[in-house]
């Protein structure tokens, strides 16, 4: 049976780079995937592109490509990534330029474009899933609309000979499904194979989250050597057989437990995990430890894909103002509470308008609120935190100011005041009839 090994070189935009180098050097992989595009990143990148037409791709693209291209070229490892963000063609041009500068002019770089569906979304006046309203009603607050593309255009780019495939918004598991479809010639309506391939992609897409990252809980779930965490490798057979593993000697661990946690990560109904290429069914999945850091994952299935694609819509969503200050030593909690009362009253007195507020004490109740946070003992130190959502930057600035002025106007011994005011680019979702997104492949000469 034919088998490919796919390495997962990044689980988010800012992820560590050495584990990807380790995968390329020692992972015996044929494909290296970098998943670097968060929900909001395309919207922010779109703003950057509006200012400079050659920007709008991942800020770490150059550093990552420089680090892995020589190794990948020497070993014939092909790269698939969504580092194109809002500008896959510019990212591909940049990558080709880096390849040339490294003396690797033979590398073929392809961009997948067509995820930008802002015009189709405006024309269709589609309803927003998260709240009442439509795309059209966002008016000039609308920044971007990008469809989650499936694996097919990326697989076609690989089949057309691309060594590096750079896409913008695509479903994360599809980045991994593409090499499988290319290598094994899987049919795009073999729902069970696509479902099992989606299991593989879903498990690998967050990189270190399946090799022991986001997992350790000392005394309960111990993980060795997290400072040198190895990133995962998926060994996939042409019949969908899947083993998750990592580079021998790297940090972390691949166990049935890490695989189970990651399988359910960001999953709602496990029988219906909606993807552009398939509706995957994780409900019958089994995991089995078959060796050290080797886990077999089987039983993924699927049903026919839907007629729509999910679209991530970026929009301007007002401002957030925030201020913080710390109190320590005896009575810290009482002074922190007094500080919150003072700020609350000041914001009222000076008429700062916000549609939503948070008044909290970091170290006491900031994460889960006063109800969940049943306090056992008085903490040695507390940090006051006040945040509010406003319609203008000016208003947002006043929130932090009212915390900062506690230095000279508030309880005794407040220290380390900090404030911020920022604009918010939020993301919502709509469903677009799939035929309205028309992905295309563009090769860029190295």
């Amino acid at each position: 049976m034919r088998t490919i090994r796919i390495g997962s070189g990044a689980g988010y935009s800012g992820d560590r780079i050495e584990p990807a180098i380790e995968l390329a050097e020692k992972g015996e992989i044929q494909y290296l995937v970098f998943e670097c595009l968060g929900e909001r990143t395309v919207a922010l990148a779109q703003q950057a592109r509006m200012k400079n037409p050659e920007s709008g791709y991942d800020p770490l693209l150059e550093e990552r490509m420089r680090a892995v291209l020589p190794i990948c070229a020497a070993r014939g490892i092909r790269i698939v990534t969504n580092m194109g963000a809002a500008n896959p063609e510019a990212a591909a041009r940049k990558t080709a330029e880096i390849a040339r500068s490294l003396g690797l002019s033979a590398l073929k770089v392809a961009a997948v474009v067509g995820d930008d569906v802002i015009d189709a979304c405006k024309d269709g006046d589609l309803g927003i899933m998260e709240f009442e309203g439509t795309v059209r009603q966002l008016g000039n607050r609308l920044l971007s609309a990008n469809a989650y593309l499936g694996a097919e255009p990326m697989a076609q780019a690989l089949t057309a000979g691309a060594d590096i495939v750079i896409t913008g918004r695509a479903s994360d598991p599809a980045l991994f499904l593409a090499p499988m479809i290319h290598a094994f010639g899987w049919s795009m309506d073999d729902w069970n194979l696509l479902g099992q391939g989606t299991v593989a992609g879903h498990l690998l897409e967050c990189a270190g989250q399946i090799t022991g990252g986001y997992f350790a809980d000392p005394g309960y779930k111990d993980v060795p050597d997290l400072a040198r965490l190895g990133f995962p490798i998926g060994e996939v057979g042409e019949d969908g057989d899947l083993v998750i593993t990592k580079v021998p000697g790297s940090g972390g661990a691949v166990t049935a437990r890490t695989c189970k946690e990651q399988l359910l990560y960001e999953v709602h109904d496990p029988t219906r995990y909606f993807q552009p290429d398939v509706v995957a069914d994780f409900s019958q999945v089994k995991v089995e430890e078959i060796g050290p850091d080797r886990v077999r994952v089987s039983g993924g299935r699927g049903t026919k894909r839907t007629d729509t694609l999910k679209v991530s819509v970026g929009y301007v969503d007002g401002y957030i103002g925030e201020g913080q200050i710390s109190y320590a030593g005896p009575g810290a909690l009482a002074r922190g509470r007094l500080a919150l009362e003072i700020v609350r009253e000041r914001l009222k007195l000076t008429g700062v308008a916000a549609s939503e507020w948070r008044f909290e004490l970091v170290g006491v109740d900031s994460l889960h609120g006063p109800d969940v946070s049943a306090r056992a003992n008085e903490p040695y130190e507390v940090r006051v935190r006040v945040a509010g959502r406003t319609e203008s930057l000016r208003e947002a600035v006043r929130i932090g100011n009212e915390v900062e002025t506690l230095y000279t106007n508030g309880p005794a011994a407040g220290g380390g005041a900090w404030k911020s005011a920022r604009d918010v680019v939020a993301v919502a979702s709509v469903l677009l009839p799939r035929e309205l997104a028309r992905p295309q492949i563009r090769f860029v000469g190295a």
Partner: protein, 107 residues
Amino acid sequence: MKLRAIAHSRTGDKGNISNISVIAYDAKDYPVLREQVTAARVKAHFAGVVRGEVVRYELPSLHALNFVMDQALGGGVTRSLALDAHGKSLSSALLDLDISPPPGDKE
């Protein structure tokens, strides 16, 4: 005893929806999870945090439950005022749930 003694957990976020897996360390404890870690208890545990419904899915082949909590993230990671906008820390909070040891279990 606490849920933490028999299960591990991970939180994920999508929009304003948080999901928390609860996975038995040992298959024999899965029935305890099914019986005691109900959607209603999870909703009550997160009173003040989760504003919408809590739905529970069962995964017997993994000895796991998956809780999907609507309106749990202050509008979602891209707009939330919260310090932990993803709700990453919710899984640890859920493991603080009290569990009655099953009859015959020496605890």
